[in-house]
Amino acid sequence: MAAPLCLFLTRPRLVWLFALIVSALAFLFSSILLEQVMTSGTIIYELGGWDAPWGIEYRIDQLNAFLLLIISAISTIVLFAADTSIRKEIPEDKHTHFYTLYLLSLAAMLGIVATGDAFNIFVFLEISSLSAYALIALGKDRRALWASYQYLIMGTIGATFILIGIGLMYQMTGTLNIDDLSRRLPEVAQTRTVFTAFAFVIVGICLKLAMFPLHLWLPNSYAYAPSIVSAFFAATATKVAIYLLIRFTFSVFGLSFSFTHLPLQLLFVTLGLVGIFVASTAAIYQSNVKHLFAYSSIAQIGYMIVGFSLTSVAGLTATLLHVFNHALMKGALFLALAAVMYRIGSTQLSQFQGLGRQMPLTMAAIVVGGLSLIGVPLTVGFVSKWYLVLAVLENGWWPVAVLILLGSLLAVVYVWRIVETAYFKPALAGSETIKEAPLTFLIPIWTLVLANIYFGIDTRLSVQVAQAAAQSLFGVSP
């Protein structure tokens, strides 16, 4: 799945085409994989022909296949617009680097999700992080360097924590294979080392996840990275971290260990809710729209964490659904922002004045994406909200349900700030020349927007897969 071949192609246009094809192929394969997994169950592929506990194995169940599909789909759609956007934002001679890094990052994310080996996860995580640092640093703004540096520090701490955790686990069990780990860990579950390992891994993942108190790196890196990179990462990177969180707590340590021995449930639900409110409120006060949506991402992660902390099939289904749905929304929104960036060279809210008339299609996309964030019926946001609230009620936590809905009211506020600026304020002087974004933007943006609506109406695919994945996780670890 990796493609360092890119380096050999020097003509930028060709590189783009190549990246697009690779990504599209990845998408194709992951759809086939998902299809197979849904019909015939887990697929195992042993790398290098070694048996599982020794060699590295790739293990695809419903959960992985679902994530693979999301990542490769978003990547393909985003890449479609990349060529036009990158031309404007990155110097010509760096295009090849860009696509190489992009593909590396894509491959690493797919790798993290696909692999069935704990150490392998770490390796892929490092690859994806390193390429992410570099990608962010390619941003036009000089502040991108600082953002990238921030991310580098935080990311490295997170990765180190994960590595320590994995190391401790290896010490206790002598295996790195996830399947094996889950079988051997219960025998040694009561030791302090395992507790320490668990703590290290969870904290490390939460750093990568940008869960509320550990989110500081995210807004700047999303805001100053090249627009395409923001779109790609916003839709996928945190999803991978969510995947890791689920994988480690459910598959590796097992449900009973994760949630009965530690006050994890209380901790997560509190942090999730606080995250929703703090981040949404922060989003309201941002003057840069990229920042605004970055904070909104942190809030959305809060929803996923709340669903996750319910430790019920319904809760996990809600989380997985939201992973899928949020990827669609944020992909569409950040791509639309990329289009705005392309036309007016900035994403400051004050520059959005009058854009409702000048770039009607792009702005309409932002409105639909925003409605989806709020959770209006007939968009995907509604589907996730419905499942999440239902799952919360199932646990009898009705105050949490009220808080979740209150949180979505905050989303109304920050989305409407954009709407009012774009539609009610007169256009800035000297901006008469601004035209609608080119087709290379509009097609991928509206593909995602229509997907937002389509999967908000026909929920069979997303709900079924999410449910199957959640059930299988509970089946594995009763």
């Binding site: 019926p377 239902l390 009012e420 009610f424």
Partner: protein, 509 residues
């Protein structure tokens, strides 16, 4: 007749949506654009009337679209209450369109194409609400209605419009997400279904406290019913062009709200359960307070549209109150009041718009002596006021009659006196306007002859005024429909309004 009733039911929802394409395509040519709107409106009216005949013949008409979430369907069916609402909305749409043509043109409003498009989408969602077969479908269209009317409210694009729109959307979205959605999900969780069923869907041994709490969530959550303290959006929405205020905020939007309240009371809780819930009494008094307070506030408004808006808040309280009384008289009174108030209030708004266009006046204090300048408009205003107050010879008489009966049946004498008192207040804030217009003011200053609103608007005013009168003289269809809400068999047996022989009713399943 080649179209089956099922097709017509679907078309009545889809048709206005299709019309948006036509309106968009013909946007450059105003005559053609308005032609498309009018043609669609009449076609829709035809469909709804055909459906009405189908219903009278006892056919059960239902359509299932698709399953949105497991167990939650988008589906539609026809029952008398929804039919009533659909009839009103589809009848008043063409009338309002005629009015709007006159108003929008002489007012030289901008972005008229967007206006007609949003209007059509709003009507489509009203049809969806009216025919919804379950609470889930209803909720979806309820939200679509909120969003599609937002551009209409903020049509002027000014700072005021933005502010009004913010309050409008803020209250409607907040209540619907925070309370309504929670209530819907809780209902789904407790009852396991969201299908509308006569007599309710809750178990008879459901926990009364839980059901009571859900009822409170519903009543607060249906912000469109404008029960105090969630009524502020309605006066705020008056920044919209008058045709919008007229159709949407006297008919479609607010009536969608009280319609939903009625639906929830009758088909989700069922009136038997409703009567024993602990929170019903509290909500009844809340509705009573809403009626009284809004009337008092209305008296102090000098802006005509604002006064009408508060009057609407008060009248909506009547409907909610009737639904919560949980007797057949209450439900009947409520549903009839949906119709009679719609005709009365839309006429009043039309008049307000006509005064604005022809005389450029929006303040009541400036309207002295206006009756000599606009006699037809002011006469219509007078008749419509009578209907709102509820005196013969206007339709409002009947609905208020049944509402009063309802309060007496349940021995809610405090509420009964509130209703009476409020009627007096109605007189106090509505009737002085036409009286001053005709009988006071300086006679010489307004001697510039008759200067009425544009003809198209005037025609619309006359139609709705006649409607107010007809509803008094010939209330039978309305009565039948309202009566049949609680007992569907009555509709086919009454036979009075059915043009077809009753033997076709055998097809009823």
């Amino acid at each position: 007749m080649t179209l089956s009733l099922e097709t017509m039911l679907q078309l009545s929802i889809i048709l206005p949506l299709l019309a948006t394409m036509g309106i968009l395509a013909t946007g450059r040519n105003p005559n053609l654009r308005e032609g498309v709107t009018l043609a669609t409106a009449f076609l829709l009216l035809y469909f709804v009337i055909s459906l009405y005949h189908g219903l009278q013949q006892g056919e059960s008409i239902s359509v299932h679209w698709w399953e949105l979430l497991p167990g939650l369907n988008i589906s539609f069916s026809i029952e008398p209450l929804g039919m009533l609402f659909a009839l009103i909305a589809s009848f008043l749409w063409p009338v309002t369109t005629i009015y709007a043509i006159g108003y929008m043109r002489s007012h030289e409003e901008q972005n008229q194409t967007r206006f007609y498009i949003c209007f059509a989408v709003a009507i489509s969602s009203v049809m969806g609400i009216a025919f919804a077969d379950n609470l889930f479908t209803l909720f979806i269209f309820y939200e679509v209605l909120t969003l599609s009317t937002y551009p209409l409210v903020t049509h002027a694009g000014t700072e005021d419009a933005k502010k009004g729109g913010r309050i409008y959307l803020g209250i409607l979205i907040s209540t619907s997400i925070l309370f309504f959605l929670l209530a819907v999900i809780s209902t789904w969780f407790v009852a396991g279904t969201l299908d509308f069923k006569l007599g309710g869907i809750f178990d008879s041994n459901v926990n009364k406290t839980v059901a009571g709490a859900i009822l409170v969530l519903f009543i607060f959550g249906i912000g469109k019913a404008a029960i105090m303290p969630f009524h502020r959006w309605l006066p705020a929405a008056m920044v919209a062009p008058t045709p919008v205020s007229a159709l949407l905020h006297a008919v479609a939007v607010v009536k969608a709200g009280v319609f939903t309240v009625l639906k929830v009371c009758v088909f989700i809780f069922g009136i038997d359960l409703l009567a024993v819930l602990p929170s019903t009494q509290f909500l009844l008094y809340l509705a009573g307070a809403s009626i009284l307070l809004a009337s008092l506030v209305a008296m102090r408004q000098d802006n005509l549209k604002a006064r009408l808006a508060y009057s609407t808040v008060s009248q909506l309280g009547y409907i909610t109150l009737g639904a919560l009384l949980a007797t057949s008289a209450g439900v009947m009174g409520s549903s009839m009041h949906i119709a009679t108030h719609a005709f009365g209030k839309i006429t009043l708004f039309f008049c307000a718009g006509a005064i604005l266009v022809a005389a450029h006046k929006s303040k009541i204090s400036e309207m002295r002596g206006l009756g000599r300048q606009m006699p037809i408009t002011m006469a219509a205003f007078f008749i419509a006021s009578l209907s709102i107050i509820g005196v013969p010879p206007t339709g409002g008489t009947w609905s208020k009659w049944y509402l009063l009966m309802g309060t007496i049946e349940t021995e809610q004498f405090i509420l009964m006196s509130i209703l009476m008192l409020s009627s007096l207040l109605n007189i106090a804030y509505l009737l002085p306007i036409p009286f001053h217009a005709f009988f006071s003011g300086d006679k010489s200053s307004s001697s510039n002859g008759i200067q009425e609103a544009p003809l198209a608007s005037l025609i619309a005013i006359c139609i709705t005024t006649t409607g107010c009168l007809i509803l008094f003289i010939y209330p039978q269809p309305l009565y039948d429909l309202s009566k049949a809400i609680l007992d569907t068999s009555l509709l086919t047996n009454s036979g009075l309004t059915s043009p077809e022989p009753a033997n076709l009713g055998i097809t009823n399943g």
